[in-house]
Amino acid sequence: MSAPPPNDPNIGAPAVPDSLGTKTLEKAMPWAVILGMFVLWELICLVFNVPVFILPRPSVVTETLIRLWTPIMRHTTYTLWTTLIGFALAIVFGVALGVAVGAWRMVYNGLYPVLIGFNSVPKVALVPVLVIWFGFGPIPAVLTAFSISFFPIVVNVATGIATMEPELQDVLRSLGAKKHQILLKVGIPRSLPYFFASLKVAITLAFVGSVIAETVTGNRGVGYLMVDASSRFDAPLVFAGLIVLSFMGVGLYLVFAEIERRTTGWAHRGQEGNG
């Protein structure tokens, strides 16, 4: 590589020109990648003549999805509900525990090892225990979703509160601020960006949790649908289930990303510049 000539017109220009074309391309990229992936998948199956019961083509999966739309949606709504209930529980308990762990050293010292240990347990190993306790209803799925999505929320909220600048604490204490005032006026608002960041991770984990439980215990839900289909070698239906799950995951991720953008825009000012 040679050095650019001294009067290169590109010197001093922004690395990526801010033209309309680049912007549109940036927006189109995710769709292009998804579409390209499906096209590639279709082509590979056609070229190598892959049997449908091993890897069905996207067109076959789509056909199944449309044909069995009503039953698939019934299972999907069920999974969506168990996931959301488990996730809501995770938010309530995660925030409460996160605030406690972040604000009080004693709670942190007492609970952190237990939390880490709890989180190290593979959640799939919990499902049989939950079945013994709660039977084959929706409860094991709700609790698995809860237990798997709870930890990131606790850790993030606690981090947001515990990393408050010491100078700021000094300013507040010298005004005579009580612990709860520091927490309400500064600790909790400042942990919000951490909280929302954790929600985006936690919601996808919650899906993993409820589907895992459904594959073991269920008589309903997408997890059950997929296990049932695979026992009948109905690969197109298994893949239809996978696609529905990923769409739900992306959808909920986007919902929480949007909530994050609206509530804590101040924490992401880098991209918008000084207004």
């Binding site: 600048e165 100078e167 700021l168 000094d170 300013v171 507040l172 204490r173 010298s174 005004l175 005579g176 601020a177 005032q181 006026k185 500064v186 608002p189 400042r190 804590t264 101040w266 924490a267 000012r269 000084n274 207004g275």
Partner: protein, 262 residues
């Protein structure tokens, strides 16, 4: 009677036997309305002195007293500003300043009942430091100097008797810094509070203070003090007069001697 006095104060961080001795036998006393600067080599315990006066830290030995009363817990009539302006990014400039009256006990109730007088006071303060028009901007929309002005306002809105400044202008460029010296001097002259300014900038100390205290290397002791006899209001031109430069040279020589002594 002295307004603030430190008598043979000693402070050890950590365990008494194995901890770091930060301040040793520091004594000083200042009058109400006096502007004191504390200078010394870095790590000499200047900030520790401030924290003890405000009651955020208790001395390991010796006596810290304000208005003749021993300081045992954080005092509520102090305003503090640090090098880092620590404004809250989700609050506007105005709301950041009002944080002080939302929290300070003797103001919070009357503020909630009728915020109007406090709003007026905040606007007035913002005008004095030259931030009119920036009330509704967020901290990240302000320059470093403007953030530091807002931080000064936050430290003053509850009308503290004692203003504690820990290298407040250290991170600013030279022009902004000199500008803020004058802003601080104006505030001091109109509001008549008592100030302790910790700094390593000798010109800053000489320009702003009535008395400059010089600390030794760690463990910090107060080794000497110097009155600044230049009349107020001081102007930036005064910094170039021979008596001012002589004084800065003298301060510099005393600190250099301290550094050599160890």
């Amino acid at each position: 009677m002295a307004f603030v006095s430190l008598d043979k104060v000693r402070l050890v961080y950590g365990a008494a036997s194995s901890g770091t001795l930060a301040v040793q036998d520091a004594s000083l006393s200042m009058e109400r309305g006096e502007f004191v600067a504390v200078v010394g080599p870095s790590g000499c315990g200047k900030s520790t002195i401030l924290k003890m006066v405000s009651g955020l830290l208790s001395p390991s030995a010796g006596l810290v007293a304000v208005e003749g009363q021993r300081v045992t817990q954080p005092r509520k009539d102090c305003g503090i500003a640090f090098q880092n302006p620590t404004l809250l990014p989700w609050r506007t400039t105005l709301d950041n300043i009002l944080l002080s009256v939302e929290i300070a006990e003797e103001h919070s109730k009357s503020y909630r009942r009728d915020p109007k007088p406090y709003l007026d006071k905040a606007h007035e303060l913002l005008a004095t430091v030259g931030l009119t028009g920036f009330e509704n901007k967020f901290p990240w929309q302000l320059s470093g100097g403007m953030q530091q002005r807002a931080s000064l306002c936050r430290a003053l809105i509850h009308q503290p008797q004692l203003l504690l400044l820990d290298e407040p202008f250290a991170a600013l460029d030279a022009f902004t810094r000199e500008d803020l010296w004058q802003v601080l001097q104006n505030l001091y002259l109109t509001r008549k509070f008592t100030v302790i300014l910790v700094t390593h900038d000798l010109r800053e100390a000489a320009f702003l203070a009535d008395t400059v205290y010089i600390m030794s290397k760690r463990p910090g002791r107060i080794v000497s003090s110097k009155r600044v006899e230049i009349q107020r209001p001081r102007r930036l031109d005064d910094c170039f007069k021979p008596e001012f430069t002589d004084m800065v040279h003298d301060l510099r020589a005393r600190i250099a001697k301290e550094l050599e002594a160890a």
